[in-house]
Amino acid sequence: MRTIPAQTIVDKVAEMCIAANRELPADVLQAFKTQQAAEENPAAKEIFRQLIENAELSRETGLPLCQDCGLAVFFVEMGEDVRVEGMSLREAVNAGMVKGYKEGYLRKSSCDPFTRKNTGDNGPAIIHFDIVPGDKLKIWMMAKGGGSENMSRVMMFPPAAGWKGLREFIIKRIAEAGPNPCPPVLVGIGIGGNFELAAINSKKALLRDIDDTHPDPEVAKLEEEVLSAINKLNIGPMGLGGKTTCLAVKIATAPCHLASLPLAVNVQCHSARHKEVVL
């Protein structure tokens, strides 16, 4: 049994929250540069220019990339041979998030659903736990903004809908979202599982790098197909037209009930902020 002091987790999580909000992932920044060169529409080129400048400025000044520093979402893989000492793992992650959002001058966006009163500390963090073999603790942090999250959907299809039905739903969803979620977007798709697993998988899929390939070649083909279709919508960066409506489509699948074909579409804005740490 390996022991990790809770304070180590608190400090690491705080660092991750601050860094995620200031440093655009390298793959996303590279995609901006590649697409800026590929675009012919001057408005689309100009949006990419601003986004690249914004990323540089954020890194230099420490200002968050986006004022919406998101709800803090965590995916935690806890090795069975790890013990956290000092407080519970949930408390440690939450305390680290609160510390990071306070010390990093990050916006607190969490509020009561009815009174709309701000909780004041961006809490509670949204944490998905997994118990895995081994003595490591792995934590992914994602700063998920509200504007893009509002454009996400879960749909329970009958099995007869098939891939054709799913594909149509995904493309129509992105078309309907249009300029609202800050395109170019990334699209996380959960297929199968059940109502809640599809949604969790659709978000977890967004942790993958833009240019990685799905290990299952059939799924990889579907990702390519949907990406190419969405980019024919001509929504473009910030809805001003162009080739780049979507930077990546990432699919995660799971076995589902005989009666069901669950689909979740998680829309991620271009400010695709996430970090990971292994302890």
């Binding site: 408005a43 949006i47 601003q50 986004l51 400048e53 914004n54 400025l57 954020s58 000044t61 420490g62 200002l63 968050p64 990339l65 986006c66 004022q67 919406d68 520093c69 001058y105 990050l106 916006r107 607190k108 966006s109 709309r116 701000n118 004041g120 509200g146 504007g147 509002n150 149509e168 493309i171 129509k172 992105i174 078309a175 249009g178 300029p179 609202n180 979620p181 800050c182 197909e225 190419s228 279709a229 969405i230 024919k232 919508l233 001509n234 929504i235 473009g236 910030m238 809805g239 001003l240 037209g241 804005c269 271009h270 400010s271």
Partner: protein
């Protein structure tokens, strides 16, 4: 596509010359307001009480900035998605509001109200909060402090860069998604 530098408060003549696609640099005062603040502004109007700022010729920026770090007037300050304020916007335009700043599409009701009142909808680049904050020289909370990031702030801006999305003549800049082509693959 023309380029304009406009000073607040905005006049009918300022707005009438604009066409969707024009670039506009705003200098002067703009007010922040988003979901919860709009609800309170509307409740205030319902009660017949005065609003915390003068709507005549005013611009409302749909933004909830991040906290100002030491030595800066404001934190990151990019636009939030505008459709959530569509419920409230027509009434405010009717009372003299000349423009709103945000991102994303507006409802037909808001577009009609803008045409009827000679007002415009401006787009700022979403997710460029650090960059846009550079044009904000001063910020102070003038109402609803308890709303935190959603409080109404008076911003002093210098050459704040905007794009005209909806002009007062029915023009709109956003593209219509080519759904047929996308579905065909």
């Amino acid at each position: 596509m023309a380029e304009y530098t406009l000073n607040t408060p905005l006049t009918d003549a300022d707005i009438e010359q604009l066409r969707s696609g024009d670039v506009v640099y705003i200098t002067g005062t703009i007010y922040t307001g988003r979901d919860a603040a709009h609800k309170r502004l509307t409740d205030t109007l319902d009660k017949g009480d005065p609003l915390p700022f003068d709507l005549k010729g005013a611009l409302i920026y749909y933004v909830g900035p991040s906290p100002a770090p030491p030595g800066r007037p404001i934190g990151s300050a990019g636009p939030t998605t505008s459709y959530r304020m569509d419920t409230y916007a027509p009434r405010l335009h009717g009372l003299g509001l000349k423009g709103t700043i945000g991102k994303g599409r507006r409802s037909p009701e808001v577009r009609e109200a803008m045409n009827a009142t000679k007002s415009a909808y401006f787009g700022a680049t979403g997710g460029a909060g650090a960059l846009l904050s550079q044009a904000i020289k001063a910020a102070k909370v003038i109402a609803y402090e308890d709303l935190g990031p959603e409080a109404i702030r008076e911003l002093t801006v210098e050459k704040f860069p905007l794009l005209v999305i909806n002009d007062c003549h029915g023009g709109e800049l956003y593209t219509t998604p080519d759904l047929e082509k996308a579905l065909a693959g």
